[in-house]
């Protein structure tokens, strides 16, 4: 069977190199690159307060006792940060409004002071206490900025950067999810329908182990094409985004692409075998409802999805658990990475075996038979 599967793999790999397929492959590769490029361009306008993650307290912008516009954020870990809005000259010399993180003054502990969620006692730092007390509830920055930046502020000013978890979330959503799923949708779901439509099924099914060879061979072909697309996309996107610890990012995303390819590929193979004409629609419906809706239900049911496993691996491999709010843990889980990988491999094997059994037992009637 392996020999037959490899024959099918080699044949399909060569046969599928047509202009139209290469064009579709390039579109899939280019899509995340385009998104990341636009995001990189917009990074200079990024509001750094968003990088603090979801705030547990709605502390709006206030004008402090010294008259400076300030925004205080307190995230779910209790970390306090104070931002100020100043005008900073850009590369063309024009003054643009920017939010800067107020540097920590020795002895004042302006930033980094920790407060627990729900803590209503006034903070020790008088500036923060004053800032919180004089909150006027206006929300975002209002009014004029606090004049031009000082020389120290200008020299120490750094362009805002997206936090690592933002890049990670975007790359995870675009490459192991969107690109992988669409690639597999195109190359794997019609594995039987394409042969029936092209009237070549009978040639393959009349060969010893022809059916299973077609299944495994086309599965390998689809996974290969999609993996290649993921590899190129990930590499170029990381080069554009330049996140911190880029190499670790690359390894993590590529590993997720690989696991996503093999596990979703096996799932779509089963759909392709069972629902020969409607496999693509069934696969889309399953993905939308189960993988993208059910996986976000904060209950045990989300552990039945591949999405849950992949999210867990992402957070584990990039050490983001501490960044996640407690209420998100039910969506991510606490299982170790090796268990998630084992489950994904197990799911792949089980679904492929099921598809193999189904393709051997099913009768595929062509129009010429009736």
């Amino acid at each position: 069977m392996l020999h037959g599967a490899l024959s099918v793999f080699r044949f399909e790999l060569r046969r599928t190199v047509t202009w139209s397929r290469v064009a579709i492959w390039l579109i899939l590769v280019a899509f995340p690159i385009f998104i990341v490029s636009v995001m990189k361009y917009c990074e200079r306008y990024f509001d750094p307060t968003l990088a603090e993650g979801p705030s547990i307290r709605e502390v709006p912008t206030i004008r402090g006792n010294d008259g400076r516009l300030t925004q205080v954020t307190i995230n779910h870990n209790g970390r306090v940060r104070v931002y100020e809005q100043v005008e900073v000259p850009d590369s063309n010399g024009r003054l643009t409004k920017k939010k800067v993180l107020r540097p920590t003054d020795p002895g004042t502990e302006t930033n980094g002071q920790s407060r627990q969620p729900g803590d209503e006692t006034p903070p020790d730092n008088p500036e923060i206490a004053a800032a919180i007390e004089t909150a006027d509830g206006e929300g975002a920055f209002s009014g004029e900025p606090n004049g031009s930046a000082t020389a120290d502020e200008t020299s120490s000013y750094q362009e805002p950067r997206y936090p690592p978890w933002l890049w990670g979330g975007v790359l995870f959503g675009l490459i192991p999810e969107v690109i992988t799923l669409f690639g597999l949708l195109l190359w794997i779901t019609p594995l039987v329908h394409a042969e029936l439509e092209g009237k070549t099924w009978v040639f393959l099914a009349s060969r010893p182990r022809g059916r299973v060879s077609v299944l495994v061979g086309k599965y390998l072909t689809g996974v290969t094409w999609t993996l290649l697309a993921g590899l190129v996309s990930t590499t170029v996107c990381i080069l554009i985004a330049r996140p911190d610890d880029a190499l670790r990012f690359w390894w993590a995303i590529m590993a997720l692409v690989a696991f996503s390819c093999v596990s979703y590929g096996s799932m779509y193979s089963l759909f392709g075998v069972l629902f020969r004409r409607r496999a693509m629609v069934i696969a889309v419906a399953y993905t939308l409802i189960f993988e993208f809706l059910v996986s976000f239900i904060p209950a045990v049911i989300n552990q039945l999805t591949v999405q849950y496993r992949l999210r867990n691996l992402l957070v584990t491999w990039l050490d983001w658990r501490d960044l996640m709010p407690p209420e998100a843990m039910i969506l991510l889980g606490n299982e170790p990475a090796w268990l998630q990988m084992l489950v994904l491999c197990g799911v792949t094997v089980v679904l492929l075996v099921a598809a193999g059994v189904a393709i051997q037992r099913k009768e595929y009637v062509t129009a010429s038979d009736v």
Binding site: S7, F203, S206
Partner: protein
């Protein structure tokens, strides 16, 4: 070789084949029937593509469904057209031979040999999308026997072939039979099948109406009355330079049942029970009499006559 016992195949409420029983020893058989009679369904059952709804089927002693060892001994040339437009014949046949378990080099050698046998050596590296219908038919035949099967199953192999192509394919199949291999050839054209296989299976409406050697089929006798049920007559139209001279020669040969002149006496219309013999001898006569043929047609009504007779007999009507 093949054992069919009350085999029935239903597609929902549509009957594919209906209670067919037959026992076929190794040899060559023609499966003859009009379009929609169940030939393709029967062949699909024999090759293990479909499972019978009722009854049983055995090929070389085993049920063919999911039998990989059996599939190695069968070569199938289906009626469907090959639609791989961006693959060469060599690549395609080699790929299919590899699926039988042969290594890459051996598969390539066999593919080249098979394509050479069907006269495709010069074109085997071109894309299939550039082939004519006849070339695609020959490519299909090549993939059917490239792996050296014991039983060759052909479904409408002469579709789309010109007379030269038909002649060539007939020669290949005759050589196959002479080598002692088995063959089942399905067609709706009686004389094509007759030129290759000595035995027929006549199928219509999913029922097996008759089976046996060709000479028995041609002159079927009602077992009750011992009267001929039907004589299968083929009609041939020939437009030539000297119709009268040709007609005299045909009458003298004793092979024709009737002869007439049509189309302002430019066309000879003859009826014969031995069309193959007529076709065999016709070139010699034309050469001997120096007659030029402008047009020749053979509207085959013999099969329709044959089946009409059989249906009348099966319905209990005495001819």
């Amino acid at each position: 070789m093949i054992e069919l016992r009350n085999v029935t195949k239903l597609y929902g409420t549509v009957i594919g084949v209906n209670d067919i029983s037959a026992s076929l020893a190794p040899g060559a058989y023609g499966l003859v029937g009009p379009n929609g009679s169940g030939k393709t369904t029967l062949l699909s059952l024999i090759t293990g593509q479909l499972r019978p709804t009722m009854g049983s089927i055995r090929v070389f002693g085993e049920p063919p469904w999911n039998r990989d060892a059996l599939l190695r001994t069968i070569g199938l040339c289906p009626a469907v057209d090959v639609l791989f437009s961006n693959v060469s014949a060599l690549d395609w046949v080699r790929y299919l031979v590899e699926l039988h378990g042969f290594g890459r080099r051996e598969a390539r050698r066999r593919a080249e040999q098979a394509l050479d046998q069907v006269g495709m050596s010069a074109h085997m590296k071109r894309m299939i999308g550039t082939y004519s219908l006849g070339m695609r038919q020959r490519t299909k035949l090549a993939q059917a026997f490239a792996h050296d099967p014991e039983l060759l199953i052909l479904d409408e192999p002469f579709n789309g072939l010109d007379p030269i192509g038909r002649f060539q394919m007939t020669s290949v199949l005759r050589a196959w039979i002479r080598a002692g291999r088995s063959l089942i050839l399905a067609s709706h054209i009686l004389h094509e099948v007759e030129a290759i296989s000595p035995s027929f299976l006549l199928i219509r409406g999913g029922r097996l109406l008759a089976s046996g050697p060709a000479e028995e089929v041609h002159t079927m006798v009602d077992t009750k009355t011992e009267a001929p049920v039907s004589e299968v007559v083929s009609a041939i139209r020939i437009r030539c330079s000297d119709p009268r001279l040709l007609a005299r020669k045909l009458v003298e040969s004793g092979l024709i049942e009737s002869i007439s002149f049509v189309d302002n006496r430019q066309v000879v219309l003859l009826a014969t029970c031995q069309p193959n013999v007529v076709f065999e001898r016709l070139p010699h006569w034309l050469d001997e009499l120096n007659i030029r043929v402008d047009e020749m047609q053979s509207p085959d009504e013999s099969l329709e006559n044959l089946f009409s007779s059989l249906m009348r007999m099966h319905r209990g009507e005495v001819s």
